[in-house]
């Protein structure tokens, strides 16, 4: 299994690095092309939130495995101002910067699992996962292990 990748996020150029690294790692895990694009786009959003709302932080990318399927975990972490109301931040169109407010809710739609842990004044950690062939695991003919 490929090793974890850590990308420090400090400027807009790091956003590009993070999503390119994420795409590369996801490709080695075995994702198809259209999923690679979804993953890279979601990474771009959470990495940009670090630059825009927290100033600096990091994105950690790692392969994962559960119930016989392979996947990727993306952790975007910062020690910025934190998010006071996570539910609100996850709403389409909510932005404290007059932006589109689609980054967080959009990234959630692109991935299979999405979690935010945030403390005001302490920082924010977004953890997202995507799995390969999620629909196949629900298929009855698949042998149970």
């Amino acid at each position: 299994m490929a090793a974890d990748v850590r990308v420090p996020i400090e400027s807009d150029a790091d956003i590009v690095t993070a999503r390119q690294q994420g795409r590369a790692l996801a490709a080695t895990v075995g994702f198809g092309n259209s999923e690679l694009t979804l993953i890279a786009t979601a990474i771009s959003e959470v990495a940009r939130n670090i630059v825009e709302h927290a100033g600096r932080g990091e994105v950690i990318l790692s392969p994962t495995e559960a119930n016989n399927s392979q996947g990727i975990v993306v952790v975007a972490r910062d020690q910025g101002p934190g998010i006071p109301n996570i539910e609100q931040a996850l709403r389409d169109g909510y932005s404290t910067r007059g932006s589109l407010g689609l980054g967080l809710p959009g990234a959630r739609r692109l991935m299979d699992e999405f979690e935010i842990a945030s403390k005001v004044g302490k920082g924010t950690t977004v953890t997202m996962k995507k799995w390969i062939h999620r629909n196949l695991t629900e298929f009855p003919l698949r042998p149970r292990r």
Binding site: S34, N135, L136, F139, L141, R142, P143
Partner: protein
């Protein structure tokens, strides 16, 4: 399956440190290695267990198996046999070897070892019996390890084969259920039939987007006459598909919105304002032609009894 080799109960070999007799047996098998191994290979050849192996492969495989078995006897533990069995099973199955070849080969080796013990000890019955007490459980254990490894490998191959078939079938069903038809240059028609869940909507959109690029389509007609229930979720999928097509430069016309569906959509407040809808497929094609810059002209061929056929002209 975990804990390979535990499923078949076999007499456990003595766990105690190697006795003097064990050491003697090990020395015996090592000393007679070339002779016994040769005998084993000859017998296997006679039973055609070696079909498909080159002489070189036979040589290296038989040496490894021989040494592994003696090593198990010497150390009283089976990790080496276990890992070798697994790799052998993988290679054997992949190369189409039969159960008979693999198990039969090992039974032959067991007999070769056994016979050589008879030869050596047949004058001292008590010692022969003690030697067999040490040797037999080890031979059985190795056999069960190999048999299990082989069966597991078989199951794995069958399972993978089955999963592959299932995947192919799913793929085929997907293709069939969402045909993208090219009606004429730059125009695609996508008749959607059946329920539209998010998984299918996604496949359909991906397929449609690729077709737009491949066929250089400028207009797409999405006919939803065959979609039984259009709720807000389905409507949102449709809106997304339309938006995605537009990003590639194609205009989408939705046709076949039944009266009840139109009513539901307005009641649940789905915003279809951005979507160009036309009553039925025929109307949709006419609208598409208009967008593409075609003109429908009616040819009045004199004396023709049949209704005039519309012809297209750019």
């Amino acid at each position: 399956m975990k804990g390979k080799g535990n499923a078949i109960a076999v007499r456990e070999p003595p766990a105690a440190p190697a006795t003097e007799l064990t050491r003697e047996l090990v020395a015996h098998f090592r000393g007679k290695k070339d002779f016994l191994r040769q005998q084993w290979v000859e017998q296997m050849t006679a039973k055609s267990f070696l079909a498909g192996l080159t002489p070189k492969e036979t040589e290296t495989e038989s040496i490894t198996i021989y040494d592994t078995c003696v090593g198990c006897l010497e150390r009283g533990e089976y990790r080496a046999a276990q890992s070798y069995a697994t790799s052998m099973a993988e290679r054997g199955v992949l190369r189409g070897m039969t159960t008979e070849q693999i198990i039969g080969g090992l039974l032959t080796l067991r007999d070769v070892y056994g016979r050589s013990l008879f030869h050596r000890y047949h004058r001292e019955m008590a010692r022969l019996s003690a030697a067999l007490d040490i040797y037999e459980p080890v031979a059985n254990k190795i056999l069960s390890i190999v048999a299990l490894a082989f069966i597991e490998e078989r199951e794995k191959v069958v399972r993978e084969e089955r999963e592959k078939v299932v995947r192919q079938q799913q793929e085929a069903i997907r293709e069939l259920s969402t045909p993208v038809l090219q009606v004429r240059e730059h125009l695609l028609v996508l008749p959607i039939i059946g329920t539209l869940d998010s998984h299918r909507a996604r496949l359909l959109t991906e397929q449609l987007l690729r077709s737009i690029r491949a066929n250089r389509a400028k207009v797409v007609i999405m006919d939803i006459t065959g979609v039984p229930n259009v709720d807000s979720k389905v409507a949102n999928h449709l809106v997304q598909t339309v938006d995605a097509c537009r990003l590639l430069g194609a205009t989408v016309i939705v046709t076949g919105v039944a009266p009840e569906i139109a009513q539901t959509l307005t009641t649940i407040g789905v915003d279809l304002g951005r979507i160009l809808t036309v009553c039925d497929l025929q109307g949709g094609i006419e609208e598409a032609d208009r967008l593409l810059g075609y003109r429908v002209i009616v040819t009045e061929s004199a004396g023709s009894p049949s209704p005039p056929a519309p012809a297209l002209e750019r």
